[in-house]
């Protein structure tokens, strides 16, 4: 019973301590007063980011170290941790002005956001099923509360309840799947599960398949793929917009990171069994997500359905796991996180007096009032479509290449066709911004400095990944290698 190597947990520990400090700042600030939540949150996240970089930089600092067989600091974990911390930094920047504009500035908001980050950091680093479940719950419970943090809005309450009920339900599925795999292998460690379930002639093969199926259902809810997507539009629409931005970017990265690790290492030997399932989920998500997005009148709902379809694109690459696809998925996640922060962040930065743009009409003539913001929004939409010179193009190219490489050419064809369909609803926003008449009075607030900074970083990431993808691709490649 001697010292446990805690190095892989350092980033999460730093963020957790920051969260408690921010919570106590709120408690001691007194009624109606505000403490310095934003600087503290930013400092904590930056310190965690630095810790991640330092761990990644050399062997002695802890690259490749384990925490008691539960957490690992390999390239995949560290890379996705850095991405999640970046997402959280931008989300805090976006939140600060949005919360002021909606009169809901509270320290708890930042504390919950940081607690959720702790769960996400754990989720991408777990090598053991119980830790996976605990990390998932830390992330989700904080998010349920965040969704309902606008207590004056019934939509926010509704989204919290819906997310909580479906989330708890999906956790049960996941836990049941873990129990099945434990029953067969006698272990919760991914490595042991992997070696216990290799042979298809095993008499327990049925039990294994049941466990894998239940795991897939649980993850399906978290990444919002069809048919487990029902909660997504309501939750994305009702939650405070910066929370939606954080959720759409962070949860996707964390859940796909865990999905890659669980299915890419622990269950890789069963790939022939789960590949068809993933392919079916991918097709349904791509088709239904895009078709449903066509019919939306609320921009947030449209983006929610678009996020369902993007889960489909990512799953299409996952069929080729673990070799080529991990790289493609990891690269896509980086660009996609930036785009999600950008689109929802752009909406949130216009909030004024508790109101914010909701429908397409609200964005009419935006290019005349906010030319820079409209241009940035267009960049994000172009990336979502997958037009060249944006992260979305390079990302989709690698995703579909991975699917073709695994012999699932029809998946790639569906994906490309559906990307064409998606152009209609993404361009609809652009048409409203640039070609419709502006209302006489400007209803929306000028974009604050902090929001502008966050949006500028997102634009730079999206364009940077589109024009010079090599650097991040190399990192994604190294991360994918660590799965093997």
């Amino acid at each position: 019973m001697n010292a446990v190597d805690l190095r892989p947990a350092y980033p999460a520990i730093i963020v957790a301590v920051t969260a408690v400090v921010v919570l106590l700042l709120q408690a001691f600030a007194g009624k109606g007063k505000h403490g310095p939540y934003v600087p503290f949150s930013l400092a904590g996240l930056a310190a965690a980011f630095l810790a991640t970089v330092m761990i990644a930089s050399s062997q002695e600092r802890g690259l490749g170290s384990h925490t008691g067989g539960a957490l690992v600091a390999d390239e995949l974990a560290l890379f996705l941790e850095a991405v999640i911390l970046g997402v959280a930094l931008l989300a805090v920047l976006l939140s600060s002005s949005y919360l002021r504009a909606t009169n809901s500035e509270r320290g708890e908001h930042y504390a919950l956001l940081l607690f959720s980050v702790v769960g996400m950091l754990g989720l991408v680093a777990v090598t053991e099923m119980i830790s996976l479940f605990v990390a998932l719950e830390i992330m989700s419970v904080a998010l349920y509360a965040l969704c309902g943090s606008r207590r004056d809005q019934v939509e926010s309450q509704e989204s919290a309840v819906k997310y909580f009920i479906t989330g708890a339900f999906s956790s049960a599925f996941l836990l049941f799947g873990i129990a099945m795999l434990y029953g067969v292998s006698g272990s919760t460690s991914l490595g042991r599960i992997g070696s216990a379930v290799t042979s298809a002639s095993d008499p327990n093969h049925g039990l294994v398949l049941l466990g894998v199926g239940l795991l897939l259902v649980g993850f399906g809810f978290k990444i919002a793929c069809v048919p487990f997507h029902m909660w997504a539009p309501d939750v994305y629409e009702g939650a405070p917009t910066t929370v939606t931005a954080f959720m759409a970017a962070g949860v996707k990265v964390a859940a796909f990171g865990a999905l890659l690790r669980v299915f890419g290492t622990g269950l890789a030997s069963l790939a022939d069994d789960w590949r068809p399932l993933v392919a079916i989920l991918a097709v349904f998500s791509m088709v239904l997500g895009n078709l449903a997005a066509l019919a939306q009148s609320s921009v947030k709902r449209m983006l929610a359905y678009s996020s369902v379809s993007h889960a489909g694109y990512l799953l299409a690459a996952l069929v080729a796991a673990p070799r080529v696809s991990a790289e493609a998925v990891i690269f896509y996640l980086v660009g996609y996180a930036a785009v999600n922060l950008g689109t929802f962040g752009a909406l949130s930065s216009l909030a004024r007096d508790g109101r914010e743009p909701v429908t397409f009409d609200h964005l009419s003539g935006l290019s005349r009032r906010h030319p820079v913001l409209a241009a940035a929004f267009t960049v994000f939409l172009i990336s979502l479509m997958g037009v060249p010179v944006s992260a979305g193009f390079v990302g989709k190219f690698y995703l579909f290449t991975a699917a073709v490489g695994a012999g699932y050419t029809p998946l790639a064809i569906v994906g490309v066709l559906m990307s064409v369909v998606s152009a209609y609803y993404y361009l609809r926003v652009v048409v409203h911004m640039y070609m419709k008449d502006a209302p006489v009075e400007d209803a929306w607030a000028p974009v604050s400095t902090t929001s502008a900074l966050a949006l500028a970083v997102s634009v730079l990431v999206v364009l940077g990944l589109g024009i010079w993808p090599a650097g991040v691709l190399a990192l994604a490649h190294a991360a994918a290698q660590s799965l093997l």
């Binding site: 446990v4 106590l24 408690a27 001691f28």
Partner: protein, 117 residues
């Protein structure tokens, strides 16, 4: 692995069969003679007052949440106390970190007035 669960299956069948048998028998042989005392809710002999679906202050919810905070705390302290010597300094520090986190939550609840009735 599965054959070892056969006794559980038998027990389950016996339990279901026994209750079905006794309930069925009383249904067949007995005559229903209801009276107000028989139809009332059984409350250990005390006559029940009012309905159970009453509204109660939401403050109880806060008390519940804080109770869980301390309850979980105690649930972890007991087993730790048992193996305190074996875990040594490492266990002490681990428990300290745990208590500090809980203490943070407790301080927060106190300061925002969760205990003010």
């Amino acid at each position: 692995m599965l054959p070892s669960y056969v006794p559980v299956l038998i027990l389950a069948l016996v339990a279901i069969g026994f209750s079905a048998f006794t309930l069925g028998l009383s249904q067949l042989l007995g005559k229903p003679r209801p009276n107000p005392a028989k139809n009332s809710v059984y409350e250990c002999g005390v006559p029940p007052i009012g309905t159970a679906r009453e509204r109660f202050p939401i403050k109880f919810y806060m008390i519940c949440m804080i109770f869980i905070l301390l309850d979980v705390d105690a649930a972890f302290l007991y087993p730790w106390a048992l193996v305190f010597r074996d875990l040594g300094v490492f266990g002490f520090l681990e428990m300290g970190a745990f208590m500090l986190l809980l203490g943070g939550g407790f301080t927060y609840a106190w300061k925002v007035g969760a205990f003010d009735w």
